[in-house]
Symmetry: C2
Subunit: 102 residues, 2 copies
């Protein structure tokens, strides 16, 4: 289990943009432009971030005409999100701005 793998794994969750994309996809698959419009993010921003998620195995792509429909790898992501939710619910008191390494 290499450290680089850990890092890439965690990276998927470590930006607000990717988190928002993941949340959006948790409802259903969507094209780049759909995500882009729904979230108000630049097209290339969405594209870059989806590429990252795809490379890390969190997202799959399928063609549909000109579009590419991205969908979540639910099996891994959903339990992960649940786990995070549980922890955060319990520790939100701590989870204020972490001033230390800011």
């Amino acid at each position: 289990m290499s450290d680089i793998s850990y890092k890439l794994f965690i990276r998927a969750f470590s930006s607000k943009t990717r988190l928002d994309i993941i949340k959006h996809l948790s409802k259903k698959g969507a094209s780049v432009s759909d995500i882009s419009n729904s979230l108000g993010f630049e097209q290339s921003r969405v594209s870059h971030n989806l590429a990252c998620l795809a490379e890390c195995g969190f997202v799959e792509v399928n063609r549909k005409g000109k579009q590419r429909i991205y969908s979540l790898n639910r099996k891994t992501i959903l339990p992960m999100l649940r786990l995070m939710d549980r922890h955060i619910k319990k520790y939100h008191k701590h989870l204020k701005e972490c001033g230390v390494l800011k």
Copy 2:
């Protein structure tokens, strides 16, 4: 469930230093200097990173003379690590250098 909470949560896992500290603590609680010596990290580096982990609820502190003994909040961290392991085992083929956002 605020986004900042997610971000802080994930941050705990997002650096090699913190990951190493977590691994070290997974055996048993340890003082700053113990961690510092075992891992060969600067004292202040360990201290900064422990503070971050503590603030995010992943680690607890107890005094013992001059020392401060840090120990893992195992309930949250261990399932998290297991989940990561499982994903990484399955997707290591994807989890090579993610060139896109580098």
